[in-house]
C-alpha cells in the first residue's frame, strides 16, 4: 500500500509560509501593542485574541463569504490582481495568518512589556535611535519569546482543521493538508493512511515543542 505524502508536505509548507509572514507582521505589531497609549487598544487586543475563543468554523465561514467571487471583497481581489482566495493555497495562508496571530503576538507582547523600561531609555540617552534600540537591545533580549511565538504559530497552523475545512475544502496539492486528509481517510475507513498522517503530526509536534522548552531552559540559565 502506498501512502500519499503530499498532504504532509502541504501542511508543513503552509505552516512555514504562514509563520514567516506572521513573524514579519506580528513582531512589530506586538511591540506596538506593548508600547502604545492608543485609546482603543483594548478593542485591538480583543480582536487579536478572538481566534483563541471563536470556534474555527465561525472564522472560516466569514472568510469563505468574504473570499467568494460574489462578495465585493472577493470580486475586487479577482478583478484587481486575479487572486482567488476561496479553495486555494493563498486563501489558506491568509486564514492561517489571521487564525494563528494571537499565538505569536501574545508571548512576544508579554516579553516586550516585561523588559525594564530603563533598557530603552539607556539606549536613547546613549544616542541610539528607536530602530537601533529595537534591533540591538530589545529584540536580542526577548529571544526566548520570539522562539516560543514563532513555534506556537507554526504548531497551531499545523494543527488547524476547522478553518481549513471551511475555506479550503479538500483539493489535493492545493488545500488537502494532513488534518483534512486524516478526516477524509477515516471517512473512507482507510485507517492505515489516517494512522500515518496522525502519527507523523503527533511525533513532529511533540519534537517541536520539546525543542522549544529545551532551548528556553538553556536561555534562562
Amino acid at each position: 500500500m502506498s501512502i500519499d505524502l503530499a498532504p504532509l508536505v502541504l501542511t508543513f509548507k503552509l505552516a512555514a509560509v504562514t509563520t514567516a509572514i506572521l513573524f514579519c507582521i506580528g513582531v512589530p505589531f506586538a511591540w506596538w501593542l506593548a508600547n502604545t497609549r492608543f485609546r482603543l487598544k483594548p478593542i485591538v487586543e480583543a480582536l487579536v485574541a478572538m481566534p483563541l475563543v471563536l470556534p474555527p468554523s465561525v472564522l472560516g465561514f466569514y472568510l469563505l463569504l468574504a473570499f467568494s467571487p460574489e462578495h465585493w471583497f472577493g470580486h475586487w481581489l479577482d478583478q484587481a490582481i486575479g487572486l482567488r482566495l476561496a479553495f486555494s493555497f493563498e486563501g489558506l495562508v491568509l486564514a492561517s495568518v489571521i487564525f494563528s496571530f494571537p499565538f505569536l503576538v501574545h508571548p512576544i507582547q508579554a516579553a516586550f512589556q516585561n523588559l525594564p523600561p530603563s533598557l530603552a531609555e539607556a539606549a536613547a540617552v546613549l544616542g541610539k535611535s528607536r530602530w537601533q534600540t529595537f534591533l540591538r537591545v530589545l529584540l536580542p533580549n526577548i529571544k526566548p519569546a520570539l522562539l516560543s511565538g514563532a513555534v506556537l504559530g507554526f504548531a497551531h497552523t499545523v494543527g488547524e482543521f476547522g478553518v481549513v475545512l471551511m475555506i479550503g475544502g479538500n483539493l489535493p496539492n492545493q488545500t488537502r493538508v494532513a488534518s483534512i486528509a486524516i478526516y477524509d481517510e477515516v471517512e473512507s475507513l482507510n485507517y492505515a493512511a489516517a494512522n500515518v498522517y496522525a502519527g507523523t503530526l503527533f511525533v513532529i509536534s511533540f519534537v517541536i515543542l520539546l525543542v522549544v522548552y529545551l532551548v528556553n531552559r538553556r536561555a534562562l540559565k
Binding site: S118, E121, A122, A124, V125, S129, N141
Partner: protein, 291 residues
C-alpha cells in the same frame, strides 16, 4: 553652564504636588540632590536627560536650549550627550561588559577609550562576561564606565552607590571623586547618604516635596553652620542591673551594644525598652583608622 527652571506636576503617594526647580550649575561642578524618596529628585534628573518633559519652563545647556515649553522645544535624549547612570544600572543583558561599553561609544571616538575605561574602573578582567554574571558592585562600575564611554557633557547619577556594602562603597566614592577631578565633567548625583554627599559634592541641594529648600556646601547644609564637639547617640535600653552604688545600663546603639553607668536616680525612671539619648560632653575620643 546649565540653567534649569522647570515645573511639573508629580503624582506622589500622598497626592499630587508640584516639582518646581530653579537652578544654575556651573561647568565642572559636582552637585548632590539630597532628600527623602518621592520628592522629585529622579524626575529632575530624567527631565535633564530628556526622558521626561516638564510641564512648563526652560532648560538650557551651554547656550543651547534643551527644553522650552513656550517655544515647544524638546531636544530628544539622543541629542543631549548626557551620561545617565540608572538606579537599576540598565545594563544590556545581551551584551558583554565590553559590548555594553562599545555600544555606548560615539561614532568616531577611538576604540582605545573603551580599553582605558575598562582599566580605569578595574573591570578589564570582566570584559567578556555578561551583566547577569556580575555582582552588584561590579554592575555599578560597568554602568558608570558605560555612562562615561559616551563622552558625556553632563553626568547624571541616580543613587549610584545605594546597594553596596560600606567598603566597596567608600572605594567607589574615591573613584568617582578622582574621575570627577580628572575629567571635570559637570555631575549631578542623587543620594540619601550624608557621608557620601559630604565626601563628593561641592554643593548640595536639599529637596522636599518638589522644592529645593536649602542649598550650600555640605558643611553648611548638614551642620547648620556650626559643628559640635558633643557626641550624641540614641539607643534602646536592653537591661538595667545594679552595680555597687550605680546602675549598669545595657543600651543598643545602632547595631552595637554598649554598657554605661548611670546614677540610681537617672535609672529609676528608665525601663527596659525605653528610648534614650546618650550625650557625652567635652570628651576626647581615641581615633583609630580602619584601613
Amino acid at each position: 553652564m546649565i540653567q534649569v527652571n522647570i515645573q511639573r506636576t508629580l503624582h506622589g503617594v500622598q497626592g499630587d504636588f508640584d516639582l518646581n526647580v530653579d537652578l544654575d550649575i556651573v561647568e565642572g561642578e559636582f552637585v548632590a540632590l539630597f532628600g527623602p524618596s518621592g520628592v522629585g529628585k529622579t524626575t529632575l534628573l530624567r527631565c535633564l536627560a530628556g526622558l521626561e518633559k516638564p510641564d512648563r519652563g526652560r532648560i538650557a545647556f551651554n547656550g543651547s536650549v534643551w527644553f522650552d515649553a513656550q517655544e515647544h522645544t524638546h531636544v530628544p535624549p539622543q541629542e543631549r550627550h548626557v551620561g545617565y547612570m540608572f538606579q537599576d544600572y540598565a545594563l544590556f543583558p545581551n551584551m558583554t561588559v565590553r559590548g555594553n561599553l562599545e555600544f555606548a561609544r560615539r561614532k568616531g571616538s577611538s576604540r582605545q577609550r573603551v580599553d582605558e575605561l575598562l582599566e580605569l574602573m578595574d573591570i578589564a578582567e570582566l570584559q567578556h562576561r555578561k551583566p547577569n554574571a556580575l555582582s552588584g558592585g561590579q554592575k555599578q562600575r560597568v554602568a558608570l564606565a558605560r555612562a562615561l564611554a559616551a563622552e558625556p557633557q553632563l553626568l547624571l547619577l541616580d543613587e549610584p552607590l545605594s546597594s553596596l556594602d560600606p567598603t566597596i562603597r567608600s572605594r567607589l566614592q574615591d573613584e568617582i571623586l578622582q574621575l570627577h577631578q580628572r575629567m571635570g565633567i559637570s555631575t549631578i548625583m542623587v543620594s540619601h547618604d550624608v557621608g557620601e554627599v559630604y565626601k563628593l559634592a561641592g554643593r548640595v541641594l536639599v529637596m522636599e516635596a518638589g522644592h529645593i529648600v536649602r542649598q550650600g556646601s555640605p558643611a553648611e547644609v548638614f551642620s547648620s553652620g556650626q559643628t559640635t564637639g558633643k557626641f550624641r547617640f540614641t539607643g534602646e535600653v536592653l537591661g538595667i542591673e545594679p552595680m555597687d552604688v550605680m546602675e549598669a545600663l545595657t543600651v543598643l546603639v545602632g547595631n552595637q551594644i554598649v554598657r554605661v553607668a548611670a546614677m540610681p536616680d537617672e535609672a529609676s525612671n528608665l525601663h527596659v525598652g525605653a528610648r534614650v539619648m546618650l550625650v557625652s560632653k567635652a570628651f576626647n575620643p581615641m581615633i583609630i583608622a580602619l584601613e
